[in-house]
């Protein structure tokens, strides 16, 4: 299919880490068999808690790291098999926006320089053309022309995130990976930046991989959602289906533990949260549980969960969950 901007197949990434002094090396399975696809102009949200592999996934897709196995196809080209020149061309089409706008902008570079740099590296545009495009982009992200010659420290967090978004869009990428782009922002600023991201998508048809732990934000911005836990995809579904009828126990727990303003308040809400709260914490990725990685915290776990690794089983047109008991507990 030609309008697929991104597809991954059985993407796996392992890191070797020191097991300690005089100990053999240990392996962290950061990503295990992740398959996904994303069409132009759509937003795929990747949800999960810390350590679930969502940022590792971002680094593979952005070609900042090479996966251990599996393939990444960007705009129909296999990025894992491409040679250096082809990879460089592909990199232009994939850009990233990071979580912390205080760390992702070079404090010694003026905003204008930061915006022009991708053009200077990747295109043969002249100085004045680069500046023209930079200034135009600044306007599109809601900043004014006088900001062009300012340094990042002169901006607030929300404004810096706008600069980071502008920089990511300078090369007119087909895919932007946004790794927790609003997590560091206050709620009123968060709303402004989310609106901006959605406006820019409408204008340019860019596709987003939107990584977040905040389900309320995901519910707003996503078209499709994948839920990850300990490096594996637990559930994949169109947004509406995921929020209305989650199939995987982990997705349910995530939804139930998210505090919401309009839910029942006070004691009742807490009792509900406590009842649905998962016991325990994320197991060490160095020694993931056998079988289903979620079974140690799952309220529905049975003996068989320790034996088989559940595959993503279809539960609808575009809905799939990796749980052997999903039909029983539904």
């Amino acid at each position: 299919m030609s309008d697929l901007v991104l597809a991954t197949d059985a993407l796996t990434k392992r890191y070797e880490v020191s097991g300690g002094l005089f100990q053999p090396k240990a392996t962290v399975r950061a990503l295990q068999d992740v398959s996904l696809s994303l069409a132009a102009g759509r937003t795929l949200a990747v949800v999960g808690e810390s350590g679930c592999g969502k940022s590792t996934l971002a680094r593979q897709i952005a070609m900042l790291e090479a996966p251990t196995s599996g393939t990444i196809t960007i705009g129909g080209v296999d990025a894992t098999a491409a040679d250096a020149a082809a990879r460089r061309a592909l990199r232009r089409t994939v850009q990233m926006v990071f979580q912390n706008p205080f760390a992702s902008l070079n404090p010694r570079k003026k905003v204008g320089t930061a915006l022009e740099e991708p053009l200077a590296i990747n295109t043969d545009l002249g100085k004045s053309e680069r500046e023209e495009r930079g200034r135009a982009m600044l306007g599109r992200v809601g900043l004014s022309p006088e900001h062009y010659r300012r340094y990042p420290h002169m901006f607030s967090g929300g404004q810096r995130q706008r600069v980071a978004i502008a920089r990511a869009l300078m090369l007119e990428p087909r895919l932007v990976i946004a790794d927790e782009p609003v997590s560091a922002l206050d709620v009123s600023i968060q709303a402004q930046v989310l609106n901006l991201l959605m406006d820019l998508q409408d204008e340019t048809g860019v596709a987003y991989v939107f990584i977040s732990h905040n389900l309320a934000v995901v519910e707003l911005i996503a078209d499709e959602v994948i839920v990850m836990y300990l490096g594996r995809v637990m559930e994949r579904a169109p947004k509406a289906e995921l929020f209305a009828a989650p199939r995987h126990p982990y997705t349910r727990a995530l939804l139930a533990s998210t505090p919401r303003v309009d839910a029942t308040r006070g004691a009742a809400a807490l009792a509900r949260a406590a009842a649905s709260a998962l016991s325990g914490e994320l197991p060490s990725p160095l020694a993931p549980p056998s079988g289903c990685v979620f079974r140690t915290r799952c309220p529905f776990a049975i003996g068989r969960c320790a034996e088989v690794v559940p595959a993503l089983e279809p539960a609808g047109a575009a809905h799939a969950a990796a749980c052997i008991r999903q039909d029983e507990i539904g």
């Binding site: 709620v187 406590a274 998962l278």
Partner: protein, 326 residues
């Protein structure tokens, strides 16, 4: 009428030079009754943490704390000898912080740090203190507590460290616990556990809880009364029900409206234009006036007080759903 557990009247906190002070909090007034859960909500820089630190007496020079009234259980904290005030901390008044990992001393075991707190306030034999420490860890639902006693902070996860912090805070049965963003650094499933634990301990021990957070969802689940802060001021004070049903201050309304869950089905979020004014470019009138959708001429020149509006209080001349202030 009984005396509130904590009274704060016109508290202000300033930093920097006296002629150009940076006002981190100004004119902050509130009370906390025994056994009550009060939520303080606001964005970064709104003065919520600094107000809490001032109450605890943890603002060091050159920071300046001034208050017309600052009393705990009827005792004036400002007139009290320094030693006495210090002994309240960790005893009757305790506080936990956002980042549990940096709040614990990395060089000592959990048992050492817990027993140190107990020794300081209550004393007792080593054996008795050790038993207390173990019981506290069980109270905060740390699995395998026996083994965790000997753990160093780096061996604990974030959620576990926050539980240890909480165990230290409740070691001496405080009557007031201030929790400053206690769940912000935690994952959402662990956050749910932590909130349930805080609520249980609060109820069992009848302790008052001041919960500082930027997360309105957390506030709505836990708090009975809510203070909303903006640019160093309390802009609204109301019961949790009233606040979420009928916000009186435009800022509160905007905060609620910008929540993604209040925008279900809409393509765009309602958002407040502009940003919080910096410390030195505060407007002359109401601090929200440059961003307020309901702004009137009066708002630009005159600073509003925290007026009574029905059962709530709001720092606004034109409170929502009520008659304007005379």
């Amino acid at each position: 009428m009984s005396v509130p557990l904590l009274e704060v009247g016109r508290l202000s906190v300033e930093f920097g030079s006296t002629d150009m002070p940076l006002r981190a909090a100004s004119d902050v007034s509130f009370t906390v009754d025994a056994g009550e859960v009060v939520g303080i909500v606001g964005e970064s820089g709104s003065g919520k943490s600094v107000s809490a630190l001032a109450v605890m007496g943890l603002i060091d020079a050159p920071g300046r704390v001034r208050a017309e009234r600052l009393a705990f259980a009827g005792r004036d904290l400002q007139r009290m000898p320094e030693r006495e005030r210090r002994s309240l901390l960790g005893g009757d008044m305790a506080m936990i912080f956002q980042d549990p990992v940096t709040s614990l001393n990395p060089s000592f075991t959990v048992a050492f740090q817990l027993m140190e707190t107990i020794a300081l306030h209550e004393g007792g034999s080593r054996k008795a203190r050790r038993a207390r420490a173990l019981k506290l860890l069980k109270d905060v639902e740390i699995p395998d507590a026996e083994r965790r006693l000997h753990a160093f902070p780096h061996q604990l996860s974030g959620g576990m460290s926050q539980r240890v912090m909480l165990a230290m805070a409740i070691a001496c049965n405080p009557r007031l616990l201030i929790a400053d963003e206690p769940t912000t650094a935690l994952d959402v499933t662990v956050q749910a556990q932590m909130l349930a634990l805080l609520a249980r301990l609060q109820k069992e021990r009848g302790m008052a809880l001041v919960l500082i957070t930027h997360d309105l969802g957390v506030i709505s689940e836990v708090a009975q009364r809510v203070l909303v802060m903006y640019a160093g001021q309390v802009v609204e004070s109301a019961s949790a029900e009233d606040l979420f049903a009928q916000p009186r201050h435009p800022y509160t309304e905007a905060l609620l409206a910008s929540l993604p869950e209040r925008n279900a089905g809409k393509r765009r979020l309602a958002s407040l234009a502009g940003t919080v004014p910096g410390a030195f470019d505060r407007p002359a009138g109401c601090l929200l006036s440059p961003r307020c959708p309901y702004v009137q001429e009066r708002c630009r020149v005159e600073r509003p007080e925290l007026f009574e509006v029905g059962t709530s209080r709001a720092r606004c001349f034109y409170p929502l759903g009520a008659a304007p202030q005379p």
